[in-house]
């Protein structure tokens, strides 16, 4: 896979005597929608967190585009800033900033991390809200949003800084079946627009339906590489 956007090599991480990740290695090509599957506690979320630079790891290497994170030593601030320009993350519980409205949640990073003027950031946020179908909730506070709305606002917030790689942790956890289909279609649209997606899920059906590749993790080891042969663009 020469056109890999993301590559993990021999990534290892332990807590005490327990191995959380053990020699994790895989690559994700641009435009892929990869699902990492496995039971609870298998290390799915930790893989996403190491890619996002939230979890230092002990050995191995993670490369996103041209940015390299090395195991064994904490990454410098410059490397972390660079990796976060490449990687967006949508958390399982969304973690929308509780003190800010939906629109302020989405504009915060463009204005303060990228230095984009507020009106331009608001225009971009509005486009994202329209694309995600939540334009009517722009002024709402997070505590007033439903689970599905909060997830879409969280996706908009991650996309507002325009990262080529988007990580999503358990995106279907709080959605009913109809909403899962909507989410699948949305992810396919994102991939069609050139975004690369890695999702951690234990929703077998969702992964089989929408992912281009499925990786299975058990006790911190990627055990199976399963290719459903999906072409997300065709599902639209």
């Amino acid at each position: 896979m020469s056109d890999a956007l993301l590559r993990l090599q021999d990534v290892g991480l332990g807590r005490g005597t327990r191995r959380i990740l053990d020699g994790v290695a895989f690559a994700v090509a641009r435009g892929d929608l990869v699902a990492i599957m496995g039971p609870s506690g298998s290390g799915k979320t930790t893989i996403l967190r190491t890619i996002a630079g939230l979890e230092p790891f002990e050995r191995g290497e993670i490369v996103v585009d041209d940015v390299r994170l090395r195991g064994g030593a904490p990454a410098g601030m410059g490397t972390l800033r660079a990796i976060r320009r490449k990687v967006g993350m949508v958390f399982q519980f969304h973690h929308l900033f509780e003190h800010l409205s939906a629109i302020d949640n989405v504009c915060l990073a463009p204005v303060h991390a990228l230095g984009i003027a507020r009106p331009a950031a608001e225009r971009r946020a509005h486009e994202l809200f329209v694309a995600l179908g939540v334009e009517h909730r722009a002024e709402a506070m997070p505590r007033h949003l439903s689970g599905g709305e909060a997830q879409r606002i969280a996706i908009a917030r991650a996309l507002a800084v325009d990262p080529p790689l988007l990580l999503m942790d358990e995106p279907t956890a709080s959605l009913d079946p109809a909403r899962r289909v909507e989410l699948g279609e949305l992810l396919c649209r994102l991939v069609a627009e050139g975004r690369t997606l890695v999702i951690a899920t234990h929703d077998e059906e969702f992964a089989r339906t929408w992912a281009t590749r499925v990786l299975r993790v058990r006790e911190g080891v990627v055990t199976e590489r399963d290719n459903p042969g999906n072409n997300p663009g065709n599902k639209m």
Partner: protein, 500 residues
């Protein structure tokens, strides 16, 4: 049920012992007032000595009773006597029209003179109160001397400074915080034995008297004590007591002659005829007094409000820095800040105020208001910092990680996400502390800052009652704290933290 025979015998025996106990004359004084009035005996600290102790013994003997000392804070003696905590108050208590009106006062047993003390170099400059325009003059709060100084504030434009004890006016005189002290000659002479560098001006400002005070319902007892006092003046036993304590002088025979001749003696005679004081005006009705004191109470509440607002602003700033240092700082920084917080929280605020104002006066001579402001701010900063630290740590890790993955720097995470969320969490306890600060600011009266509670106390002492002053004081405190609480509730509703 009839008591059994042994029980009956025991009850009889106890009754006999109780009946055999001599009756007591409970007398109230403040042993902190010290010699020559009342002080703990240096050789036997459980006993008190002083001329008031001996006068009390003399009075008790005449009634065939045993004197029993009841220690009561000087400023509360009147109220304690009125509510029956003791039979008589004797502790250098001044004869005033208010006391005569609200309590049963004995005839005077000592005549004193209010005298002006100035630094040795100033005896030529500051001879009388009229020489002290624009200067600060200290005295004990709630005394005739303080009333005279309030009159002189209006008449001569000097600044009256109220102290809680009679030591610090003189030590502050020496270091220049005040330019003169007005107190009675007994107190001035006593201080001159321990503090050098000041001169007592020979011309007195007013003449007053010490009396005993009893509850109004005890007027018959007072009358019989008056007879005892007259007898002691006649047979020289009062003179012997006063001579033994070194306070006998030529004023006393003149006073005794008038009293024995049956003349009335005015409570206070102000020598400076230009002065009009509450003491010389006679007794005011409660409402006249309220009308007269309301402006000074409003002024004092302004002091309370300004002091509390400034101190709280400083405490919030310092508290934030301490909390940030403890959450983000290196380990040594955290240890130093933790030590600061624990020392401040573990020691009384009164002690901290005393150290700031009097303790370090030799090195840094802080003005009273600045010392009060710093004392309150440094103390509250420790408590605020704990609130902010807890609030910062209560912001969920998920919120911080979400901010980090968006590419915000650690400083931006703090200022844009963690700080604002922590502030909302801290708001309720902060408001609580601000309301507490409004009331705790009353402690700074020990540093001569005349705030609302102190002014009320002075008002109540002069009036001889706490009812009207207490109501006015409570109303003023509520007028300050209720809007604050309402504002805080509004902000809390607006920024309501989501349910966890």
């Amino acid at each position: 049920m009839r008591p059994s025979r042994p029980v009956f015998v025991v009850i009889l025996a106890i009754s006999a012992v109780v009946a055999a106990q001599p009756r007591e004359l409970r007398w109230a004084g403040d042993s902190e007032g010290g010699a020559p009035f009342v002080e703990a005996d240096p050789s036997r600290p459980d006993r008190v000595v002083g001329f008031d102790v001996e006068v009390a013994s003399l009075l008790a003997r005449s009634l065939d009773r045993v004197p029993r000392f009841v220690n009561i804070t000087f400023t509360s003696i009147d109220q304690s006597i009125a509510r029956g905590d003791a039979d008589i108050g004797l502790s250098g208590i001044e004869d005033t029209p208010a006391r005569r009106a609200t309590l049963a006062a004995t005839i005077p047993y000592y005549r004193f003179r209010e005298v002006l003390s100035v630094r040795d170099g100033d005896e030529g400059r500051f001879r009388t109160l009229s020489d002290l325009r624009g200067k600060r003059v200290g005295t004990l709060g709630g005394t005739i001397a303080y009333e005279i100084l309030l009159g002189a504030e209006r008449e001569y434009g000097l600044r009256a400074v109220s102290y809680e004890d009679d030591v610090h006016p003189y030590s502050d005189l020496i270091i220049g915080r005040v330019d003169a002290v007005l107190l009675d000659n007994v107190l001035a002479e006593r201080r001159r034995q321990t503090i050098a560098g000041f001169t007592v001006q020979p011309q007195s400002v007013a003449i007053g008297h010490y009396v005993g005070v009893l509850a109004p319902s005890n007027a018959p007892l007072r009358d019989s004590l008056n007879e005892t006092l007259r007898g002691a003046m006649r047979d020289g036993s009062l003179e012997r007591i006063l001579r033994a304590w070194g306070v006998w002088n030529d004023d006393q025979p003149a006073l005794y002659a008038r009293l024995l001749a049956g003349d009335q003696v005015p409570a206070v005679v102000v020598d400076d005829t230009g002065l009009e004081t509450a003491a010389s005006l006679g007794v005011l009705s409660q409402w006249d007094a309220a009308h007269r004191y309301l402006p000074s109470l409003v002024r004092a509440s302004l002091v309370t409000l300004v002091l509390s607002c400034l101190a709280m602003a400083l405490a919030v700033g310092l508290g934030t820095l301490i909390a940030l240092g403890r959450v983000y700082g290196a380990r040594p920084v955290g240890l130093v800040l933790t030590a600061y917080v624990e020392i401040i929280r573990g020691t009384p605020i009164l002690l901290q105020l005393f150290v700031l104002y009097y303790g370090i006066a030799a090195a840094v001579r802080l003005p009273a208001f600045v010392a009060a402001l710093l004392g309150l701010a440094l103390n509250y900063a420790a408590y605020e910092s704990e609130i902010y630290r807890a609030a910062l740590q209560a912001v969920s890790v998920g919120q911080l990680e979400a901010a980090r993955t968006l590419g915000l720097t650690e400083r931006q995470v703090l200022t844009l996400v963690r700080g604002p969320q922590a502030f909302r969490l801290a708001l309720a306890p902060m408001t609580n502390d601000f309301v507490a600060m409004l009331k705790d600011s009353s402690l700074v009266s020990v540093l001569t800052v005349l705030e609302l509670t102190k002014q009320t106390q002075i008002f109540a002492t002069n009036l001889g009652s706490w009812v009207v002053p207490g109501l006015l004081c409570a109303a003023l405190y509520l007028a300050m704290s209720l809007p604050l609480s309402a504002l805080a509730r509004r902000l809390e509703r607006r920024w309501k933290a989501p349910a966890a």
